[in-house]
Structures are given as C-alpha cells and as structure tokens.
C-alpha cells in the first residue's frame, strides 16, 4: 500500500536527491516532506514552488490545447483531471536541479511532487523519469 511517505522515500533514492515534498499548489500546503529543503524552510519552499507550478498550469502558452480558441476549451468537472495540461516544471540552478511533477488523480486535486537534486551528483533526465513513475504509483494500486 504505497502512501505519501513511501513515495517520498522512493524519491530520496533517486541519485543526487537532497529533498522531496508533495505540495498542493492551490493552497500552497506541503502534504509531506523528506530530507533537506532549500533555505531550510519547508513551508516557504512549498508556497514558492506552488506558485511556480500554478503559473505553469495556467498560462495558455503551456497548454496542449493552445491552438483551440479560448472559449472552446472544455470545462472538466466530475470526470477527474485526465490529461493534465503540464507534466512537469524543471528549474536548473548553478548548484542544483528542481523537478516538479504533477500528480494526476481521479478526484479534483492540485498536487505535485517536488524533488530537489544536487547538481553534481544528480542526473536530470533520470530524475525526471523516476519522478514520473513515483507520481503515478502514488495514486495507482
């Protein structure tokens, strides 16, 4: 029975992992956290990454249906959030990588996994694939 803690532990096994959190990007709440946090403040990091993630999901430029006229985009309700507009947000800095992977749930939610990696020991491509897998297993049986 994988839960929040098991998924966070799996994220910490990714090479170069320094810290991982599960964040609700509407409220900015950290639902779970493990390891280090940039700046040492889990809640502040959660609020900032939530803002970043939210903007990525809202900007029309990043929407897969960007070609559609704005009025025709279907308002999804009650059918789950199949097909999230954005898969992940990646930020690279001189000392690390940040991968934010959106979690697709059958109920209405706004959750993503944030993995912070060391620049020297982390592998961005590998981390992205592993995090995608972990995000999927968080909600699948």
């Amino acid at each position: 029975m994988p839960g929040i803690d098991e998924c966070l532990l799996q994220a910490m096994v990714v090479p170069g992992a320094r810290g991982a959190t599960i964040v609700d990007w509407t409220s900015g709440l950290a639902l779970g956290a493990i390891g280090e946090s940039p700046g040492g403040d889990v809640e502040a990091t959660a609020a900032e990454t939530a803002e970043m993630a939210r903007m990525a999901t809202e900007y029309r430029s990043f929407s897969p249906q960007a070609a559609q006229p704005p009025g025709e985009a279907p308002a999804r309700q009650g059918t789950g959030a199949k097909g999230l507009p954005v898969e992940d947000v990646i930020v690279t800095t001189s000392s690390g990588y940040h991968v934010m992977r959106f979690v697709e749930t059958t109920f209405d939610s706004s959750v993503f996994l944030h993995l912070w990696l060391d620049r020297d020991t982390g592998n961005l491509a590998l981390a992205r694939l592993r995090l995608a897998d972990i995000a999927e297993r968080l909600v699948l049986a």
Binding site: M1, P2, G3, I4, E6, C7, I22, D24, T26, S27, G28, L29, L31, E43, A44, T57, E58, S63, P70, G71, A73, A75, R76, Q77, G78, T79, G80, P85, V103, T105, T106, F107, D108, S109, S110, V111, R137, L138, V139, L140, A141
Partner: protein
C-alpha cells in the same frame, strides 16, 4: 512561517501538550484528536472526504456507505476503503489531508465561538495520517493570511458567485467553477458540487475577484452605512392594511 503557533487556539496547544484524545468542537466545525495529534476534522463549510472522492467518480456512494456500515463500528473506515481496493493508500492520504486542513481552517476561524472538548471520542474514519496540532493551527492561520493577501474582501467567500460580464482570462480550474455559477450557488456550494476543498475554491474565487473575473459584493462591514434622512423614520410603521386584507381574502378564497 513566523506566525506564533499558539495564536489560533490556546486550547488546542494545551490539548496537544497533554496528548489528549477526543473531539474539539467550535461553532463552525470539529477537530478529532488522538494522542494530541489531529486525525480528522469536519466542518459544514467544507466538503467531506466522501464528497471529494465521490464527486470525482473515484468511489460510488454505495461503496462509501458499505465501508461506513462494515468498518464504522470498529473505526477503521479509511483502512477498509484501502483494503477492499476502492481507493489506494496514496489517494486516501492526499484526499484526507486536503479535507482535514480544509475543515480545520473553518473550525479554527477567528469568530468560531467558544471551544469545547470532549475527552475519549474517536471518529469512525480511523487514523489515516495524523497531523501535529501545531501544524494544523499554523496552516489555518497561514491560509487566512493567503486569502487576505490575494483579495482582502471576505464578502466574495459567501455571496453567490457572479461572473463579471466578460471573463476571458479564467484558467482551466477557474472555468470549472464559473461553469457552475448560476447566481444562486455560493463558493462553498460550488466546492461541494465539483468535489474540491472549499478553501481551494475560495483561493480561486479571491484570485478571480482580484482579476475582475467575478463580482465583489459590497462588504457591509467596510462600507460606512449611509444615514437615513430624518424624514424616513417619521413614516408610520403600520403594516399595509389593504395588502393584508387582499392576502387574507385570497387565502380564504383558496380554501
């Protein structure tokens, strides 16, 4: 966050320190504690875990009712839902945490009335992922600050949601809310229909109000009440006798 944790409810802090088990009840909701940690929360303003799971189609109403009937007495409904394969452990934790903080936000509100605590009470949901009481209190106060920072007009939280005449810039998740705005439904009512935590709905509503996508009702507390001209109170406050007569006649005629 630098907010002092004790600010929201000193009672909650004391209960956490004495590792109390029971239910804390205020005007707008209840927090269930086990060993000083919050294991469940309920508020009429926040959709419950059942609403969140069922509205999205993850779970059927019969599946939920069955779980409550079969595992409610031994207070293991959460575990039963997972063990019977109706939801996964991750889904249950995510959804339950969302519901817990949502209900706690309304329960711990500033005008929440007196705080009562009954020792020994446990919720039938069972323990899913306990949260330290201090974390719950701190999160509730952070949420209040967030709403205030987004758009400091609490009137939009409880008034029927009214889209502004032209609202083209709404996001995908905001459009889902606007689609349910029928001039009657308030944000908490829409949250219930769509199966989204009420606080998350309020965040979107305040953002939309700040962006001019929905109307902000005039706040009675903020607008100074205009004084009536002196001649108004001079009017006789007798009821309209003629109207009452007509009503009586109509009622008698319909009997």
């Amino acid at each position: 966050m630098s907010t002092p944790t004790a600010a929201v409810s000193p009672t909650l802090t004391r209960l956490a320190e004495e590792r109390a088990t029971g239910v804390l009840v205020r005007d707008h909701g209840a927090l269930y504690l086990s060993d000083g940690q919050v294991v469940h929360a309920e508020s009429p303003a926040a959709p419950g875990l059942d609403v969140l799971l069922i509205a999205g189609g993850r779970l059927g109403r019969t599946g939920w009712d069955d779980a409550v009937a079969r595992a409610g007495a031994r207070r293991e409904v959460g575990r039963f839902l997972v063990d019977s394969g109706q939801v996964t452990g991750g889904e249950l934790e995510l959804c339950h945490l969302a519901a817990l903080h949502d209900a706690a936000f309304f329960t711990l509100g500033p005008a929440g009335g007196p705080t009562r605590f009954r020792y020994g009470v446990a919720h039938w949901m069972g323990s899913i992922r306990p949260v330290p009481a201090a974390d719950v209190a701190r999160e509730a106060s952070r949420r209040r600050g967030l709403l205030e920072a987004l758009w400091p007009y609490p009137g939009v939280d409880t008034a029927p949601l009214r889209p502004a005449p032209a609202s083209p810039g709404a996001s995908r998740r905001q459009r889902a809310l606007l689609a349910l705005a029928d001039g009657v439904r308030t944000p908490p009512a829409i949250a219930r229909v769509i199966g989204r935590p009420a606080f998350n709905t309020l965040v979107e509503v305040r953002r939309m109000a700040a962006a001019g996508l929905v109307e902000t009702p005039p706040d009675p507390a903020c607008t100074p009440r205009a004084r009536l001209p002196d001649w108004v109170p001079d009017f006789s406050d007798d009821p309209d006798i003629a109207l009452l007569r007509r009503l009586r006649d109509a009622l008698e005629a319909s009997l």
